[in-house]
Symmetry: C2
Subunit: 738 residues, 2 copies
């Protein structure tokens, strides 16, 4: 097959994924939704979730229009940018939102059906929830690949370059703007959804569980519908938009790197390098479908068998994708195909190790969480101290693993040419290796996301069962599914954060590449290096540009950038944490008010005013999401304006390193607190209702915004800062002050 | 005066400081120690503190002997290091420990005397406590300058260099090893003391205040003596060693930079650059003594007047030091004396702004703390969430301020030669400017430390008053002094952290300088740059070496280093947090056991077994301090061995940026929780004993290890990692793998 023919495998795989997503969606819809009460609760949650998403998209649309207009001004007014930027930006945002929307729609239809299925058996419950999760997984990867290939076709048709090789560079860097749109949408979805869900969750728990002593999801709790809506808008829609962004981001960054790394090898080899990440992703899509079908158990299967079934699906897909990579890159006949294949494998392996480490630190089968639970004997303060301590310690293995993957991928990609690690061509090749490792890590997203997204569905099914007063066995089964989902979700977060770090590094090279294009846009033809040597901009290499802009670790502008980047990660988390705190306090006040003012709630004689709680979460999330999200856009622009290229590079590295470590800390501390509470709820150390239990509820509540609002948003933040810098590169070279 | 004559001002100023320290110590000893009970309690605390310090120094001595032997092996066995290294290392450790010891000795003599003086009036209590704090402040700066000048005299006599200029470079870089010894000692003191004091404090609070409902420092609480001992070993001895290290570190780093920045200007100008930071510090010492004498109020002064009196002392000293700097650098007739003076002023100004921002975020006179207190209405979980959120947000102003100081100091030092910011000579000059800004920031340490160290003395005086059952008015007065101390302590922490960031950056240049010396040690004469150009090692500039080792932001080794550095800061905090958690749990168990087993404690008929609690804190601190402290030594060595110079530079920048931001976050969150509790204790939102109060106690308890163990240790960590890298530079170039 020719390279161009191979390209068509990519949209084909995407259509296959979307086709199966449709198929699973229809299969799910065929299931019964249960009795009238179950249906009406599901409808209530569905309507609440849709209402929120509408409101969210309305606000985000305004932001997108303003940003697109700004980009249009830069492109058409000042001429410092590519004319395709505003459109690519808008479509990225649109599709990312669409992925979240479809996932959420599916989830809201699936919850009552899962509860109903769980009336029969654990296994049937799993099947409905997991198939619905698969809709989400396949939609994300299907839409992702579809958009990537569509944009490629469009730009290939319209863009003109001086040479074929230059054209490919322009196409791939333009497509990064599409990634920026996706990241922007994802950040709003994660932050807004995260604030919504955690405000409701914290509010419901604080008054319901701790003060009134009623169980989770009790229909007497006014915040319970908001809590269930939150699972959908935060954990489903937010996660869908997030992973869509991660998936496209890694593919687009690697394609852009491939275009520049193989620039000198001619357009044919260059195209191969651009298609390689897409083809690996396409193979991953097909193997994910296979993996999804492998997740099946006998009718009377227990928990261990279920977990093994999920593991079988993921592990088989991972092993096959590793093998397939060698085949694809061999057939593609790309330079150093074996080395690049090993780079992909190092990414996959790193993902798996990070997943295992995450499980160790967050599952209550192991010492760390048990110690946190044990510290409840001395009250909530020691639960918090040991959770924070454990979360901080848990950053060591993932960071060392990613570091090993970075150096392995780099060295494999440059055929272990250690003596010339930093020549112009080896830098590009090495960073391409890092990018393709990120693609490898995310290639099995179709199936991993399926195992991830079914968690919130099971959670909601439990809520539905509780509110519909189904037999306690049903709740027990959905709880078991939910707990299973917690373990797989932890693994999924490890993948998302790990791939974000790799992608962000790969994007650094794209940034330099875009700076070069920016210089050409503003008409600069010659660069005078510090040594006095003159070079042609068009032929400048990465080391030339680094040299010209003096992007080294002694440049005070880079150092300031690194400080600012580290600070941005903290500031962002602080703002979103406080947003959750404020919104939760409003929720608590409202729930307390209803318990006080509406007589008969506790006896079940009066219905709480669920809608007001939904409105409080919605309003809180919309108001609070803007400032932290806009930081990611404003700070890179301001840094570029003040401190130029060196400042921006420092910012990105400071933000990426601190953000990565902070994200792992927050996700793992949150997960560990959650499971320390579950550990006690399963009857140990005094069990439910004991003082120990109450102490761990405080930990879990603190952990909520850690693991579901601030932590997972950080991986989007670090990529979005990179993408904004890339898109604004022309602006930076044209207007920077220092 | 000649430059050599000016040098003698430095030991003269140090002797002046030590003389006044002696004078204040004698004045304090003349005060009456109160009744027999007061004296015996003070003796108990003093003996416990001395016993701990002995035990601590025994463990640390073993560590120092092992490290010194290792350095001796490198110096005499492999010849990759200067022969003076082991001795300088040991003396640095010795003097840092001595500063802590003297401070603590003073504090333990002062507490009962302060309580006794407070029986007369608030003002007399302040005078005793503040004068005792002044002993500490003047001892730290006096010993610091003494050691710096002694080592200079010794090395000037013994060291031989090819030329006078080379000799000065060798002397100043050797003296950095002395700084490394001080930092190592300080880290152990801060971590060990921090674990001790917070284990005791948390343990005493959790059982005493929350479970048994008895007030702070109640003699019925078995942990109360351990708690008071802890204030001395952690907040006094630990802080003394810490600030001794900061003070010497900034002077030594700047001197080393001066020697290389003015290398080409000849030995005369070079000596001026070496003496400049020392002379500024010497002037600071004299003006600090003046400032200390300015702190006096009328006998019937209120709190506001007291605060104003302290402010007058500090502000006058700061203003005068700014003026004096211009004078000193003019008389010294150093190149660009005005620009360098402005660099000093930018450091001073940054310190003041950071202090103000810290006060805003941690004092209960302002919104942030009041909001945290307000969130207590919804329980401890929201107190924790809003405290963490606020702490994270509070990093923004200090980071932006330090960034502004960095660029201002750099630009002033290079006479705003923006077009040639990164030439070899401008890099050295610019970094020298940053170093001298750090010296400026710390120049008033004599008086700021006096206002800082009197806090724990007042705290202990309160403990003594409570246990001796003095009139409640006495306790109220010591509490007022303690609260005043909290505000000034927050400012002090801002100075320590800010100066650490500046010093760490300045040390980067010393690292490169030492790499050059290391290359010469192993006999490498010629470097072949990536461009193929050959240069002589002896004449290599910073850009040459950066170029040769490819220390830029695209080098995967530097990127891995940055990730590892960020992770190290988190891992270090995690380990020390967990250490406090574990030790505190043992303390809680012991206190509960005593309440249960020793009949009559609560009625006052039986005396608790204070000694066992002291033993638990001591054992816990000794066991737990080793691992986190050794990280700071092992990680830079391992990184150098694996990833060479680029890896180490990445590590230092990742560690410095993340560590700086994390330190501010932890210090401010801890301070804010503490004062949110005090806000309620002063009678608002329900006052003492209310649910709101209990919720804020949880926050305060979590904040204890944040602000007094992990947070303040971070500023030592980032400098120690730099110093270790510098000392091990020869080892790195000789043995690194990649």
């Amino acid at each position: 097959m020719t390279t161009q023919q191979l390209f068509w495998c990519i949209p084909a795989a995407s259509l296959l994924a979307l086709g199966f997503a449709c198929y699973f969606f229809r299969m799910m819809l065929k299931e019964k939704e249960g009795n009238d009460l179950m249906q009406s609760i599901a409808r209530y949650v569905r309507e609440g979730a849709m209402a929120y998403l509408k409101q969210q998209y309305r606000v985000v649309t305004v932001v997108f229009i303003i940003l697109a207009a700004f980009f249009a001004l830069l492109a058409y007014g000042f001429g410092v940018q590519n004319p395709w930027v505003p459109f690519a930006f808008l479509t990225g945002g649109f599709f990312s939102g669409l992925a979240g929307f479809i996932g959420m729609k599916t989830a809201t239809y699936a919850s009552a059906r899962t509860a109903n299925a769980a009336q029969h058996s654990l296994n049937r419950g799993l099947r409905v929830a997991f198939r619905s999760g698969a809709v989400m997984g396949l939609t994300v990867v299907g839409l992702g690949l579809l958009d990537v290939s569509l944009w490629y076709i469009i730009l290939d048709y319209f863009v003109e370059g001086a040479t074929e090789t230059q054209k490919i560079v322009i196409i791939t860097t333009t497509m990064l703007t599409f990634g920026m749109g996706a990241s922007t949408q994802a950040l709003f979805a994660r932050v807004g959804g995260g604030i919504y869900t955690k405000a409701a969750d914290v509010g419901a728990d604080l008054v319901g569980k701790i003060e009134a002593g009623i169980p989770e999801d009790d229909p007497r709790n006014p915040a319970t519908i908001a809590d269930n809506v939150g699972d959908n808008v935060g954990d489903v829609a937010g996660m869908g938009a997030d992973l869509y962004e991660s998936y496209c981001g890694s593919i687009l960054a690697t394609a852009a790197l491939g275009a520049s790394a193989f620039y000198i090898s001619g357009s044919e080899m260059q195209l191969k390098a651009v298609f390689a990440p897409m083809l690996i992703a396409a193979a991953g899509v097909i193997l994910s479908v296979l993996g999804i079908f492998l997740v099946r158990t006998k009718e009377n299967a227990g928990m261990k068998q279920l977990l093994r079934a999920l593991g079988r699906g993921i592990n088989t897909s991972s092993a096959l994708i590793a093998a397939a990579t060698f085949g694809i890159l061999y057939i593609l006949d790309i330079q150093n195909w074996a080395g690049l294949s090993f780079a992909v494998v190092s990414g996959l392996a790193a993902g798996i190790i990070i997943g295992q480490a995450t499980e160790y630190y967050t599952s209550h089968s192991y010492k760390p969480v048990q110690r946190i639970a044990g510290s409840a004997a001395t009250g909530p303060a020691t639960v918090i101290i040991s959770g924070i301590g454990t979360g901080m310690i848990s950053t060591a293995i993932p960071v060392l693993t990613i570091s090993a993957a970075i150096i392995m991928a780099y060295l494999c990609a440059i055929r272990f040419d250690v003596a010339h690690m930093m020549t112009a061509s080896n830098i590009s090749m090495g960073l391409y290796g890092i990018g393709i490792a990120a693609v490898g890590m995310l290639s099995t997203l179709g199936v991993t996301l399926a195992t991830d997204a079914y968690g919130p569905i099971a959670d909601n099914a439990g809520g539905n069962a509780e509110m519909s007063k189904l037999h306690p066995d049903v709740r027990r089964r959905t709880d078991a599914l939910d707990a299973l989902g917690n373990t797989t979700a932890a693994t999924g977060k490890g993948f998302a954060i790990g791939s974000a770090a790799l992608t962000a590094l790969a994007l650094l090279a794209s940034y330099i590449e875009e700076i070069k294009i920016g210089l050409q846009h503003i008409g600069q033809q010659i660069l005078i290096l510090p040594s006095g040597k003159e070079i042609d901009v068009a032929g400048a290499t990465i080391p030339d540009l680094m040299n010209y802009f003096q992007v080294n670790l002694m440049n005070p502008k880079a150092l300031i950038g690194a400080f600012t980047g580290a600070m941005t990660a903290f500031l962002f988390c602080g703002l979103s944490m406080n947003a959750v705190g404020r919104a939760a306090q409003n929720m608590v006040a409202e729930v307390r008010r209803q318990f006080r003012d509406i007589k008969g709630i506790m006896t079940g004689d009066a219905t709480p005013d669920y809608a007001r709680c939904v409105a409080i979460s919605t309003k809180g999330a919309q108001r609070e999401m803007l400032l932290p999200s806009l930081l990611a856009i404003v700070i890179p622009i301001a840094t570029g304006l003040l401190f130029g290229v060196a400042g921006v590079m420092g910012l990105l590295i400071g933000g990426c390193s601190t953000g990565f470590v902070l994200a792992i800390f927050m996700a793992n501390a949150g997960g560990a607190w959650d499971n320390a509470k579950k550990f006690i709820e399963e009857g140990r150390l005094g069990g439910k209702g004991s003082d120990n239990h109450k102490a761990t509820i405080v930990g879990d509540t603190v952990g909520d915004p850690f693991k579901d609002t601030s932590g997972p948003s950080l991986n989007i933040l670090i990529k979005l800062m990179s993408m904004v810098s890339i898109v604004m590169a022309g602006f930076t070279v044209a207007f920077s002050i220092l």
